[in-house]
Symmetry: C3
Subunit: 214 residues, 3 copies
Amino acid sequence: MLLLVIYIIAITAEAMTGALSAGRRSMDWFGVTLIACVTALGGGSVRDVLLGHYPLTWVKHPEYLVLTCAAAFVTILIAKWMRHLRSIFLVLDALGLIGFTIIGCQIALEMGHGFVVSAVAGVLTGVSGGILRDILCNDVPLVFRRELYASISFVSVICYWVCIEIGLSLELTVIATLIFGFTLRLIAIYFGLEMPKFIYKDDDEQSASSKDAS
Amino acid sequence: MLLLVIYIIAITAEAMTGALSAGRRSMDWFGVTLIACVTALGGGSVRDVLLGHYPLTWVKHPEYLVLTCAAAFVTILIAKWMRHLRSIFLVLDALGLIGFTIIGCQIALEMGHGFVVSAVAGVLTGVSGGILRDILCNDVPLVFRRELYASISFVSVICYWVCIEIGLSLELTVIATLIFGFTLRLIAIYFGLEMPKFIYKDDDEQSASSKDAS
Amino acid sequence: MLLLVIYIIAITAEAMTGALSAGRRSMDWFGVTLIACVTALGGGSVRDVLLGHYPLTWVKHPEYLVLTCAAAFVTILIAKWMRHLRSIFLVLDALGLIGFTIIGCQIALEMGHGFVVSAVAGVLTGVSGGILRDILCNDVPLVFRRELYASISFVSVICYWVCIEIGLSLELTVIATLIFGFTLRLIAIYFGLEMPKFIYKDDDEQSASSKDAS
């Protein structure tokens, strides 16, 4: 099944980006492995916990957990050659984003949820692994700052939904959504497209206290 | 039903404060929307996941999710006039805190839990949306530093519990708790009342290593 | 039952270390209590939510919640004498790590999961309380940086599993794992043993943007 192949590629690629993030923070091997697993499998886990969809993927298929741990160790070994593989990673990550989104959306639809919930499930599956990685590394999540990413996940859900509505078979829907979302993401990366930012400054005591806290 | 009206006012107000927080960190529109939703609906979601109370509110009523997204976009549009609305927000936020607390407490009681668990459920519903917002924005949660907030949520639970015990009807209990907690919160804001702080300093190697880590 | 005694000692000790962490950040009493509870009971809650093992321990036994709150208040009172108790705490914490690990592992096995999932459940129970504490205090989790900690939790799971496989009774297995893991942890602290670290630096635009974000 196409989606399974994409899923396995995606969790491997996400695990490796997670391991690199952990390496930037000089974590030990355990931290690297944990952050690799959270990045790869955290998105699906957040979705499943919020929807009450038990057992979680990695509980049912512990082999995925073993795969992400292996990917983390391979990353530690080949780290010094990784920067030459940057573009391959961006492509795999784009593939993973759309693959995760489709899987999340499908699971919510199979559980009988409507459009809003399946859109949230798709986007959450696509982006929350990266958000958890950034929280554990004590960063402001990159997802909120970089080129179109979550929004492409959202647009892919709409594409998926439209394809289903006009009566395409499940397989064609998956392929069409993959091609659509993947192309969009590559265009966004190539041209450095970004969402408009919302910048809010307040210059009074509330702001001062919130700066204190930061 | 009074509580439903307060709930809707509360999630709208919380969504707007979440959006402003995201704007202070210059996030893009997706980040603003996500943080608005987490601030407004995160408290209830944490409670429901911990108590195993499925489906979550926003899964059952996706219209609340749409409402918080709309509130986030409205906030982006009217942001420059927001600072003049400060006092209205503090009042709405106080209303929301007590409303969330009562709802959380009621749900735990309906599930058959006792006082301790219903108190935790009430306080969690009231404060954990704000905690999640601050974690995603990479702040030390404000809840732990500002005037009486979580403690008022806790005292409201006690008030609720006492009213039930002395045999008041559910409606009277809700109204009494709302007035009691809301008044307390306004007094706390007006006089800048704070919980005593616990300040601990250790000046040895453990402390040094923990400073390294921060 | 031995494990129950160890569990109670462990949550008390963990609650006190959590309270000290909160004190280092000058939080108010509510923050101290919440962080104490999260540190002590968060590991088990994460495990139970991920495995769908409801109700959570503290929902079923709210007395543990009361105990951790009491431990937090005691810590506030005796904080100035705490630094002289450092070594006692390290010992109690080591005991707790292994106790939590065994309990997590047992629960997963009782639910019918295999080795991989029970290992994850054991390690999660042992370490994620501390990870949540550090996220709430806005630190990079210490677990990823300090001497052998999570890895000892993992090795203890293997010891537990081997003891079960060779046919030891449950009681002997627990005692053997406790002695094995506890000794290992004391050795690691005494000699300052650390996991190898993975240090990754990239010096290009991606790195620059990720530094911006931090």
